[in-house]
């Protein structure tokens, strides 16, 4: 599946060309035009940077999710891990700026523990990942709520919030540069290197495509799976730091990010049950979803409707990518 070498007769077929363009890019362009129509300031450097900043958390958590999805798993625990990161940070820091860096180290340690736990349960205890991470979702959310007593306690100091909140101004050409966009660029570079430049990245695809064959060929399937969950958890913690920084502590900050990350992946051409995915596609998928939410906001749709639309789009996108596979893309 990774090296698709199909020979097709050379003939002009417009439908075929349409099918070859990934739908996420088409959807993204249409949605961006709609956003620009509602908000003329959108197509300025400031508008674009604000949009990228808003997308950063979803992009990062979706890129992490991609590593799990291409190995054939699911990570449903990322939303809860985001909530735990934000609520836990606020509790640990309690408005003392000197504790910011140690707190960040601790929340990454929590992320590592959570990722390892998911990975080990899936690889060694053979629990299907959808169940294992659903369990982790409940546990992590439970820990966050029990720890905080159900509502946010404490504040996050400015030096923690800067990652999600501060925008550098007076930059040549682009005028403004939010810190979260810098972090996004770094994470994208890291993920691209991991996915395309390392043996681990190539193995995730091979394992997702055919785990049995990979094992027979000598690949360390368990280690790769565990590492994939680890990457996903670290990405979720990074998103949590950005989200906590953007708007401060809230007990529902991570809600929905698990499904959104999977939806962004599906939109971006990641194949559910493994074997296929691309960094550029996932970014396009995440931006598409963010643009869609922006449009739904601008139209003034309430949350229940937004959830309904999101669910419908997820199903439609999966159905469409299944069709594309049958067309032989």
């Amino acid at each position: 599946m990774t090296t698709a070498t199909t020979t097709t007769p050379l003939r002009f077929d417009p439908l075929r060309i349409v099918r070859r363009i990934h739908p996420a890019y088409v959807a993204l362009i249409i949605l961006l035009i709609v956003v620009a129509f509602y908000n003329p300031n959108f197509l300025t450097p400031m508008g674009i940077m604000a949009f990228l900043r808003r997308s950063a958390a979803l992009c990062i958590v979706s890129l992490g999710q991609m590593f799990v999805l291409v190995t054939g798993g699911f990570d449903l625990s990322v939303g809860s891990l985001i909530t735990l990161t934000v609520m836990g940070s606020a509790l640990m820091i309690n408005n003392d700026p000197t504790l910011t860096w140690s707190t960040i180290a601790i929340v990454y340690a929590i992320g590592i523990a959570s990722g390892l736990f998911n990975g080990i349960v899936v690889s060694y205890l053979k629990v299907p990942s959808i169940i294992a991470t659903l369990g982790a979702l409940l546990s992590l959310k439970g820990i966050a709520l029990a720890w905080s007593g159900g509502s946010p306690q404490g504040y996050l100091p400015d030096n923690f919030r800067m990652f999600g909140r501060v925008t550098l101004r007076d930059i040549p050409i682009i005028q403004v540069l939010p810190i979260s966009v810098i972090i996004l660029v770094v994470v994208v570079a890291l993920c691209a290197w991991l996915f395309y430049g390392t043996t681990f990245g190539r193995l995730t695809l091979i394992i997702g495509d055919n785990p049995r064959a990979a094992e027979l060929a000598g690949a360390r399937v368990r280690l790769v799976r565990i590492t994939a969950f680890l990457v996903s958890a670290l990405a979720a913690v990074t998103s949590g730091i950005l989200l906590g920084g953007f708007a401060g502590p809230a007990q529902d900050v991570g809600d929905g990010y698990d499904l959104q990350a999977i939806a962004a992946n599906v939109l971006g051409g990641t194949q559910l049950l493994g074997g296929k995915g691309s960094v550029a596609g996932v970014i396009a998928g995440s931006l598409t979803l963010t643009a869609l939410f922006t449009v739904l906001n601008l139209i003034g749709l309430p949350k229940p409707l937004r959830d309904a639309v999101q669910g419908a789009i997820l199903i439609a996108a999966v159905a469409y990518s299944m069709r594309r596979q049958r067309w032989g893309q």
Partner: protein
């Protein structure tokens, strides 16, 4: 692509119709609440939780019982910070009454926001025989009515916060209501925003009666004063109570329309997120209304905002226990509807309520200062 758009359209059509069909705008109730706002409360000074606004009285001598009482409480849930602070305050009031020898036993059940659980909680309490009186904070109005009517046949019942469709409870305790909240915030904003100023309205979600009435009242006031809120339908924007979304919405307005002069909110949980959007855009703070959460009061004081905080007073949780004891003592109480005053926090009394020690989502209008265990019991670390 086309198929997807068509599907989206179909989903919108199905859900949009019922969501916007219901009307919560009742001019009579609006007028009544507006009048109650200007009424002087009766009762002990400085103790708003024992005061009442007009209304009749109820003779409870037939419920009189000697000695200390066994009080039972069925709670809809503690699913939001307001209810958490309320429940803490109620337990402190029980401790006061226990120390005074008025309550011997207090039993409570948490329905976790589920009607069926609350109905079975009430049934279990009735059959336990351990309740001289039942206090209920109903989860939803219609679903709980039969269970409460059943309870009324056996023991006296007191309801507070959300009501029921039955008049069998001895007393129903509530603050003035949703319209009053909307009126206070909107009048303040209308008064302080310059003529022709830009105002936005941030609402949590549509279809919830108390929030809808708050908005209906604000809309009346804005219309009276000739203010049109920004946004497509002039009907406010929905934040889902989500801080990040609130901030994004406000940031979008600031990018699109420039300086915004006034922000009206139907609830206070995301007020500080809205203010942050102004800070991040480097713009002047708007005239704003929040609620009595500490994070907003602290931001108000620190940044010298032009602000007001109408409240949905937490102290009604105290009143419910006080009323229970009075009923079993056979005292005459305000009723059958006990309207509590809704105090607003203004620039003049801000210093009395703001505290940087209390947790960000502590509700200042708890009436809990001076209760046993204050402030540690409400989340302050020693």
């Amino acid at each position: 692509m086309l198929g997807r758009l068509a599907l989206t359209g179909a989903v919108l059509a199905i859900f949009a119709a019922p969501a916007f069909a219901q009307s919560f705008d009742d001019p009579k109730e609006f007028a009544k609440e507006r009048e109650l706002l200007s009424m002087k409360p009766e009762g002990p000074a400085g103790k708003p939780w024992e005061q009442h606004l007009g209304g009749g009285t109820v003779d409870t001598s037939k419920y009189k019982k000697a000695g200390a009482h066994k009080v039972c409480f069925s709670n809809a849930g503690v699913g939001n910070p307001w209810r958490v602070v309320g429940w803490t305050t109620m337990q402190a009031e029980v401790d006061i009454q226990k120390a005074a020898g008025k309550i011997s036993q207090f039993t409570s059940a948490d329905a976790e926001g589920k009607d069926d659980k609350q109905i079975s909680d009430i049934k279990a309490m009735l059959s336990s025989g351990n309740c001289d009186i039942l206090v209920v904070s109903p989860n939803t109005t219609a679903a709980l009515t039969p269970a409460i009517e059943e309870a009324c046949k056996k023991i006296p019942v007191i309801t507070f916060d959300r009501g029921t469709n039955s008049n069998c409870p001895v007393v129903h305790i509530l603050p003035i209501g949703g319209y009053a909240f909307g009126i206070v915030g909107a009048e303040f904003i209308a008064k302080h925003v310059p003529k022709g100023g830009k105002v936005i309205a941030l609402r949590i979600l549509p279809g919830v009666d108390v929030l809808e009435t708050r908005w209906a009242a604000a809309k009346h006031i804005f219309e009276e004063k000739g203010i049109k809120v920004l946004g497509g339908e002039h009907n406010g924007d929905f934040t889902d109570g989500d801080r990040a979304k609130t901030k994004s919405i406000v940031a979008d307005y600031l990018a699109k329309d420039g300086q915004i002069d006034g922000v009206w909110m139907d609830a206070g949980a995301t007020t500080t997120a809205a203010l942050e959007a102004f800070e991040d855009a480097g713009m002047k703070y708007p005239v704003i209304n929040g609620e009595d959460q500490q994070d907003f009061l602290q931001a108000w004081k620190k940044n010298h905002l032009t602000a007001i905080a109408p409240t949905y007073s937490v102290y009604m949780w105290r009143t419910a226990i006080i009323a229970a004891v009075k009923v079993l003592d056979g005292e005459t109480i305000p009723g059958p509807v006990w309207e509590l005053p809704d105090l607003a926090i203004t620039q003049d009394n801000l210093d009395k309520y703001v505290s940087d020690k209390l947790p960000p989502l502590h509700y200042a209008m708890c009436g809990c200062e001076g209760m046993p265990g204050y402030p540690e019991r409400w989340g302050v670390k020693k």
